[in-house]
């Protein structure tokens, strides 16, 4: 009667499970952004609340740190404490990275915040270069003292010229830093943060520029009065045709070496931003010219000077590279083979920009990078995760005198890969896929086969205990428990006085089961059968069909069955017959303990 409630409970539970699964399979039971993409204005309220709640708590400390970091960094640079400045710069870099990852993780698309992030990235680049530039400036100061003491005027001129390039670079950096000032301070004030640290950094930056400007001016004055005393003109002159150039313009540099040998051409080394641009052979009249293509030059002022024979220096000339606006056009992305194809072109005015890196962004995260070709065109295939994506292309490179630009944004839906992979040509086309499926299925089939064929660890059955006829069996407690009464139950392998005729004769009729058990155990042991206790009389008879004692065993089992299942007491005449059959059978086996 206990089965019914158990069955009812189990059935109810199973039905409940199947119902829940069925409801989910039929129509989504629960709301989830994935299952309910909705329209264009769809949003996940739970996630939205969480993001909005966390946003202020996470953003404000970061923005505050970013407003304060430049102040400490520029102050340390100004005071010449480069060890602390390096530490400040590292901290600044770390906080900037935190902001970048936070903006991406929280999917912040507010224009103001993105502007702040861009301005901060610019500031980080500017201050990193200021740190390196001022460090180099200090090295030049040390070198100047050394060369001045040793009277090495050539090296003194070289480092003075390098200092001039550095001065102009730091001036450009200051100009760029001022351009970020409005965005940085505006954002800080909007959030009610203290911007005095950032304002002080601008002041300190200006002082650094003024100091370097002043010192460099003194150096140049000293150089002109000491190194080339009494010379109004250089022996090597230099001129630049156009002072202001832009992307892909050619800077035509012409010069004249006044003192040269007419019998053989000389070579003049030309340096742009203190880096050797090339060695230019002079013409017979001592003139030379060089055309520098503006392509990978940063926007700003660049210095040019020429050196003849390592000792004759020209004056420093400069040219200014203007920033050109760019336009980035992206064609509507195409989908093929589960990949999104992006094509477009980058132009600076009407000039294609070549070999420029183009970033493809999806939801503000970089999905891939392409490079433009000679014609300014680019194309790239990217693997995007399934779902809706807002993608656009972005160009920004410090090594180009080009303003950053981004393309129009496109919405693209990448479908889920078909679950029926086997039905697609990809499986057949790619032997790897087929191999994986085959290996996996083979392994699982082998596993299933082994599971079906496996055998449990064998438990060695207790060895049957036999006693010689006439020997008293040591009756253990277990044996007592296993021994049943006269109703014919199973008996452990203890046989009382079985084997000899006398012993068999003494077995009372009520101990028929003992006789049967003894015979069964003896036969089981003779045939090395593992579970002799499971044998029925007829099975025992069948097992002995190959043995010479078959007739005796079968006679015994037949009489035993009749006596056992008759239900009436065994007559005395049958008792002799049973004992005789048992005796002959056991004797045929050579005794129970043969």
């Amino acid at each position: 009667m206990r089965r019914l409630p158990a069955l009812l409970v189990s059935g109810t539970l199973i039905l409940a499970c199947l119902l829940l699964i069925g409801m989910q399979a039929g129509s989504p039971l629960l709301y989830s952004p994935r299952s309910d993409p909705g329209g264009g204005d769809h949003s996940n309220p739970a996630a939205f609340d969480r993001v909005r709640g966390d946003r202020a708590a996470q953003l404000l400390p970061l923005i505050s740190d970013l407003m304060d970091s430049p102040g400490s960094l520029v102050l340390n640079i100004r005071s010449g404490d480069f060890e602390y400045a390096a530490r400040d710069l590292e901290n600044y870099r770390k906080v900037s990275r935190n902001l970048d990852s936070l903006v991406i993780n929280l999917d912040m698309t507010e224009g103001e915040l993105l502007e702040f992030r861009k301005a901060n990235q610019q500031n980080l680049a500017i201050l990193t270069e200021l740190f390196n530039g001022t460090g180099r400036w200090n090295e030049l100061q040390t070198l100047e003292i050394r060369y001045r003491d040793s009277g090495d005027s050539q090296m003194l001129t070289t480092i003075t010229y390098e200092g001039e390039a550095l001065r102009r670079r730091i001036q450009d950096l200051y100009r760029d830093y001022l351009e970020q000032d409005q965005v940085m301070r505006g954002t800080g004030e909007k959030f009610g943060l203290d911007t005095s640290g950032y304002a002080q950094s601008v002041v300190d930056f200006r002082e650094i520029v003024s100091r370097i400007d002043r010192e460099q001016h003194e150096k140049m004055t000293t150089l002109q009065t000491t190194v080339t005393p009494g010379m109004d003109t250089y022996r090597l002159t230099l001129g630049i045709e156009r002072q202001r150039v832009s992307y892909l313009d050619a800077v035509n540099i012409e010069g004249l070496l006044w003192e040269h040998r007419k019998d053989r051409p000389d070579e003049v080394d030309l340096f742009i931003d203190s880096r050797k641009a090339g060695s230019i052979p002079t013409k017979p009249d001592g003139s030379f010219s060089y055309s520098h293509l503006v392509e990978h030059d940063r926007a700003g002022t660049h210095t040019v000077f020429a050196v003849y024979s390592g000792s004759v220096f020209s004056e420093i000339r400069t040219f200014f590279v203007e920033t050109s606006e760019t336009s980035l056009e992206l064609k509507p992305p195409s989908l093929h083979d589960g990949r999104a194809g992006f094509e477009g072109v980058l132009l600076a005015g009407s000039i294609p920009v070549r070999f420029a890196p183009i970033e493809i962004l999806a939801e503000g995260k970089r999905a891939g990078t392409a490079h433009t070709g000679e014609d300014g065109k680019f194309s790239v295939d990217l693997k995007l995760s399934p779902g809706d994506h807002k993608v656009y292309a972005f160009f920004s490179a410090d090594t180009f005198p080009l303003a950053p630009s981004e393309s129009a944004t496109f919405e693209i839906f990448v479908p889920e890969p078909s679950p029926d992979i086997a039905g697609e040509d990809g499986l057949l086309a790619n032997p790897l896929y087929g191999a994986i499926i085959a290996i996996s299925l083979c392994a699982s089939c082998i596993g299933a086969f082994l599971y079906l064929r496996r055998q449990r660890p064998k438990i060695t059955p207790p060895g049957p205990v036999f006693h010689l006829p006439g020997e008293r069996a040591a009756m253990s407690a277990d044996d007592e428990e296993l021994r049943l009464s006269d109703d014919g139950g199973p008996v452990a392998g203890v046989v009382q006085a079985a084997g000899e005729a006398d012993a068999v004769d003494t077995v009372p009729v009520g101990d028929l089961s003992c006789l049967f058990s003894a015979l069964r155990l003896a036969v089981g042991r003779h045939l090395a059968f593992l579970y002799p206790l499971s044998l029925t009389p007829r099975e025992l008879c069948a097992m002995c069909r190959e043995l010479p004692i078959r007739a005796a065993v079968c006679r015994f089992t037949k009489i035993y069955e009749q006596a056992q299942y008759r239900g009436a007491p065994v007559p005395d005449d049958e008792r002799d017959m049973i004992a005789g059959a048992a005796r002959s059978a056991i004797e045929g086996l050579g005794g129970v303990d043969h």
């Binding site: 089965r3 158990a6 069955l7 189990s10 499970c17 989910q24 990809g426 790897l432 994986i436 086969f449």
Partner: protein, 86 residues
């Protein structure tokens, strides 16, 4: 209570538990559900079955489990292909 009823109840309870947690986690996934069911039935059958004899009600469970193992292999292959296709 008989072992058979205990086994059925345990399996039903296990399935209900898995379903409940899936609902709480808002991820009802039939593949995960199948794998967890397979694990459950494997454990329960191992606990219920005897060393010397197999009850009649467990006679065909081994075939069901073997079929489940093959299906599990197919699921694993499908998952690997999905990962490779990304």
């Amino acid at each position: 209570m008989m072992k058979k009823h205990l086994a059925i109840s345990a399996l039903a309870g296990w399935i209900l538990l898995v379903t409940g947690f899936m609902i709480l986690a808002r991820t009802l996934d039939l593949e995960i559900f199948f794998v967890l069911w397979l694990i459950g039935i494997l454990v329960i059958v191992e606990l219920v079955s005897d060393h010397a004899a197999t009850p009649r009600y467990l006679r065909y469970q081994r075939l069901v489990i073997a079929s489940g193992v093959i299906l599990f292999g197919a699921i694993v292959a499908r998952k690997i292909l999905e990962i490779l296709a990304r």
